[in-house]
């Protein structure tokens, strides 16, 4: 990646895997991953809640790990493998975590839900949450202003064992 000689003019070429598809993109260095997804790629599942890393509504998976897309510069995702909420289902088959959220009515307005689900999948892959209390602690980076927490915890608790059998969320229906 070459340096900019004139800030504000140059774009940087990056290539990444997004929801299973190889993408070659050009981004300005100050574009966040969240803005890239929402404004340039029309993937509006990831939400802009606070834009400061405090609410978790923008949570996506980068190389299998949950991160805040609002605090990530897109230019720094060159070579990364990204999964957003749009990439979780396989065809019409929802991811177990998505199904568990529906089963447990784990949302009210739904705005925080894509971030909650991506975060919960990250939590499952980390494999450190064995109790309800640990789930609560490890989901603390995702706020729900409606207060659906009890149902969110119940959904995550149910989906954790199911995820052992689930396909890895590295691709989906997004095109």
């Amino acid at each position: 990646m070459s340096a900019n000689s004139q800030p504000g003019v140059d774009r940087h070429a990056i290539s990444l895997t997004l929801n299973g598809l190889q993408r070659s993109l050009h981004v300005q260095p100050w574009t966040t991953l969240l803005d890239l997804l929402r404004e340039q790629l029309d993937l509006i599942g990831s939400k802009k809640g606070c834009d400061h890393g405090q609410c978790g509504a923008c949570t996506v998976l980068r190389d299998g790990k949950r991160i805040n897309a609002c605090l990530t510069l897109a230019v720094m995702c060159d070579g990364a493998e990204l999964v957003t909420v749009e990439g979780l289902a396989v065809g019409d088959q929802l991811h177990p975590m998505q199904r568990a959220f529906i089963t447990h009515d784990a949302f009210q307005c739904g705005y925080c839900t894509p971030g909650q689900i991506c975060s919960a999948i990250g939590l499952a892959q980390e494999g450190r949450a064995n109790t309800r209390e640990a789930i609560r602690e490890q989901m603390s980076g995702n706020l729900c202003r409606c207060g659906a927490y009890s149902n969110i915890v119940a959904a995550v608790e149910e989906a954790l064992p199911l995820m052992q059998a689930a396909p890895k969320p590295d691709g989906g229906t997004t095109s």
Binding site: T32, G56, K65, E137, S140, G141
Partner: protein
């Protein structure tokens, strides 16, 4: 965000040669990107250091451990060597931020995060740290979360890190490289008190990069406690935090460490308070004397006098839990 140019060097020397006072290094970006959005910091050049080979954790020949500056906070906290030999550090890291942020944030960057003082973040108000000489509204304004130790007329900000409080207690050493070469900075000297130059958080020069954090051989695997007191159960900055570590010879304390977070411009530690603990048996009275001594110079502001008693009680509780060896919970108490 104010436009900037982006550079991605592949070696440390290339990185430090690109750096000056108008540039910033970026790794996790969890604090810097936020500061840039708010125009608190507006670098002309951003130097992405994530391609540098600084992401290992290895044992040193002296029996300690060397942690690469790019190791993520999550990877560090959950690393087997750290969990087993420096559990105080794991516990402190996991008390901070959120899982998402810990996945992103780097070891070096954790040291360099800026204060969360409201006035520092609000470019519509004066702030001596952001704009030297403009004034400090926190001193007479909203200062409930601010410093009670080591503050100055020009700045009452606190350092926000949990990880750094444990690193201070563990006598970590910061490895730094700049255009003039490499140097080692003892943790106690790395961060500064504000004095008349609160714009400087630490001893680094503009071209210097943190390359690693070194820990001495472990001594506190059994008796440790990171106690964090905050306004909600998780995902909040400390009002007061305590990193306590004890080493026993039989029932007698052989070595003791007490560092405080959330109370000063740097992790707060006083070896003169720790020394009298040596040779003594653990007791609430002994720990209370240490707590009183560590807070003796406290100078609370209009809204944070509660921190003095809170800190004293937290110190006694943390040392008591450390002595009992019962601090097994890694997350919030």
């Amino acid at each position: 965000m104010t436009p900037f140019s982006y550079h991605k060097p592949s070696t440390v020397s290339e990185a430090v040669n690109l750096a000056d006072s108008s540039s910033r290094f970026i790794a996790g970006g969890t604090n810097l990107v936020d500061l840039m959005k708010e125009n608190v910091v507006s670098p002309a050049r951003l130097i992405d250091i994530t391609a540098l080979a600084l992401n290992g954790i290895q044992q040193t020949s002296s029996g300690g451990v060397l942690i690469g500056a790019l190791v993520s906070n999550a990877d560090l906290a959950w690393h087997a060597l750290i969990e087993q030999r420096y559990p105080l550090l794991s516990q402190a890291i996991l008390a901070g931020a959120s899982p998402q942020l810990r996945n992103m944030a780097s070891t070096g960057g954790n040291l360099l995060q800026r204060t969360r003082c409201y006035y520092f973040y609000d470019t519509g108000t004066p702030c001596n740290k952001r704009e030297p000489g403009s004034g400090c509204p926190a001193r007479s304004g909203l200062n409930r979360t601010h410093a009670i130790l080591g503050a100055s007329d020009s700045c009452v900000a606190t350092h926000p890190s949990d990880m750094c409080v444990a690193l201070a207690a563990l006598d970590a050493v910061v490895h730094v490289e700049g255009r003039a070469g490499q140097r080692l900075i003892p943790f106690a000297e790395f961060h500064r008190l504000p004095g008349d130059t609160p714009e400087r958080d630490n001893q680094l020069t503009a071209d210097e990069l943190i390359t690693a954090i070194e820990l001495p051989p472990p001594a506190f695997e059994q008796h440790y406690c990171y106690l964090k007191i905050r306004d909600r159960a998780s995902y909040a900055f400390a009002l007061v935090s305590v990193a306590a570590a004890l080493k026993f010879n039989g029932s007698v304390i052989e070595d003791a460490r007490v560092a405080l977070g959330g109370v000063a411009h740097k992790p707060w530690r006083d070896v003169a308070v720790e020394m009298p603990l040596r040779g003594q048996a653990a007791s609430p009275a002994l720990f209370a004397r240490a707590a009183d001594a560590l807070l003796q110079q406290a100078a609370p502001l209009s809204h944070n006098a509660f921190k003095v008693d809170l800190a004293k009680r937290a110190i006694v509780r943390a040392l008591t839990e450390a002595a009992a060896g019962t601090s097994t919970e890694r997350t919030t108490p």
